[in-house]
């Protein structure tokens, strides 16, 4: 997956659950765009789509606050192997 595709993929997934307009920097949790179950759905999606495992060490809201933050988190996670 290319650098650009990663964010597009995440944006498309979030877009399936959000009616309001948002961009790659919109803080989706902070601005209340998603419901209480979305965190689990997002985590499952990221694990499956990008073949990673989200663990206790990854529990930092900075990693998930926006599309760009998620993109950065995925790349770091992939680099760390």
């Amino acid at each position: 997956m290319t650098e650009k595709n990663l964010e597009q993929t995440v944006y498309a997934f979030i877009g399936e659950h959000v009616d309001e307009k948002f961009n790659y920097d919109t803080e989706i949790f902070e601005e209340g765009l998603v419901n209480s179950l979305f965190a689990i759905q997002l985590m499952t999606f990221l694990e499956k789509e990008f073949a990673i495992k989200v663990t206790m060490e990854d529990l930092d809201m900075e990693n998930y606050k926006s599309v760009n933050a998620i993109g950065k988190f995925i790349r770091n996670k992939k680099l760390a192997g």
Partner: protein
């Protein structure tokens, strides 16, 4: 059920049915009347490895897929909803530790949970906080390498029988966290709550924490994620349990009433020949089939690690628990006076079914979330279709 399973799952399912036929179903009414399940029964379940069903083999679990966990819960729910509560709460805690625990926590706790040496319960609900989890007031205050825990938890399934409790609270009144708290901690008072409508033998408890010292090392996950990630993650397993236990209850209703309506006669005909009775049995069978398919669909989504598993699990829980109430009520109606007696299983099915609509997210919470989700999807589909046709969207 069997025709939807793989050969290996069919074999496991038959073992579960045999276990329940021999050790659970014949005693379930007695447990209900006594309002407790004998500790020997819990030990027997542990010896069978059932408490570690979903845990990986590296932690001495059985490594079941979620479909197998579902059909296990169905078999147990057929015999005793109260006993199914044990596997529900224990699995919620074990799976939460497996996902969010440190390597040290997993190495220490998971073999104990898998073997049943330690039975676990999930302590989330409070006297003033049920469906609205944000209302929890139980508080942890940090003192060096320990937390001081204060507060009250209520209606905790198997709370009066568990060895360790995963207790949710707020760190310094703010950030939600969850810690494993041993039952024999000083300052913890556990009171067995009796005389419930259903779940009578499920050891429901009130837990009072008065300056209970908890090692910081017992915190699962990180501060701030207790309610947004840990609790929903645990509850997903809870909802699978409720969906399949309700399915077992539905099957119990049909199996009990099916025999009765074929044998009992009134007005010169077997009951099944009367249209009103036939209608009730038909709806039982159809809903049993629908609930089976919804439950299996949800577990397969979970096994395939799909993001839509969350929604599928909620749908399965919502449908099966509602069907359980409707059909256990009809089962009482069909059985007549027999079904109104505490010594008859149908009376227990009726009382237990109502509880299933309340636990692990009330059905009203499910309506709130699912209803909005379905409507949003419909709107998006319509908008996408109109966009494709070049129709201007209404403002």
């Amino acid at each position: 059920m069997k025709r939807h399973l793989t050969l290996s799952q069919q074999k496991s399912y038959q073992q579960f049915l045999d276990f329940v036929d021999e050790y659970v179903e014949p005693y379930a009414n007695d447990w209900d009347i006594r309002q407790e399940i004998p500790r020997d029964m819990i030990r027997l379940c542990a010896e069978q490895g059932y408490l570690g069903g979903t845990l990986p083999r590296e932690f001495h679990g059985k490594g079941w897929d979620y479909v197998t966990y579902g059909i296990f819960t169905e078999a147990v729910g057929r015999g005793s909803i109260s006993l199914s509560g044990l596997f529900n709460v224990h699995t919620m805690v074990a799976e939460t530790v497996l996902k969010w625990g440190t390597e040290e926590q997993k190495s220490h706790w998971l073999p104990l949970l898998a073997s049943g040496e330690q039975v676990a319960a999930l302590a989330l609900t409070e006297p003033g906080a049920g469906s609205d989890l944000k209302m929890i007031q139980t508080e942890y205050r940090r003192r060096g390498d320990r937390f001081l825990l204060n507060g009250v938890k209520k209606w905790i399934t198997f709370g009066a029988a568990a060895d360790v409790l995963l207790v949710f609270g707020r760190l310094d009144g703010e950030q939600p966290i969850a810690c494993l708290v041993p039952k024999d901690s000083r300052g913890l008072t556990i009171t067995h709550i009796r005389d419930m409508l259903g779940f009578k033998a499920s050891y429901l408890a009130k837990l009072e924490f008065d300056n209970v010292e908890v090692p910081v090392a017992n915190m699962i996950g990180r501060s701030g994620f207790g309610l947004s990630l840990l609790a929903p993650y645990a509850l997903e397993f809870g909802r699978i349990s409720i969906a399949f236990a309700s399915l077992g209850l539905l099957r119990a209703c049909l199996e009990t009433c099916g025999v009765h309506v074929m044998e009992r006669q009134s007005f010169g005909a077997h009951l099944i020949e009367h249209g009103m009775i036939s209608h009730m049995i038909t709806d039982m069978g159809v809903d049993l089939e629908a609930a089976t398919l919804l439950g299996l669909q949800a577990c397969k989504a979970k096994d395939e690690h799909r993001a839509d598993a969350t929604e599928k699990i909620m749908i399965a829980k919502y449908f099966a628990s509602r069907a359980g109430v409707r059909h256990s009520s009809n089962a009482v109606q069909i059985m007549g006076a027999l079904g109104c007696n505490d010594n008859h299983s149908v009376s227990r099915y009726y009382r237990d079914s109502k509880t299933m609509e309340i636990v692990e997210g009330s059905n009203q919470i499910h309506q709130l979330l699912l209803g909005k989700d379905f409507a949003k999807k419909a709107k998006r589909t319509r908008q996408a279709a109109q966009k494709k046709k070049g129709v201007q969207q209404p403002v």
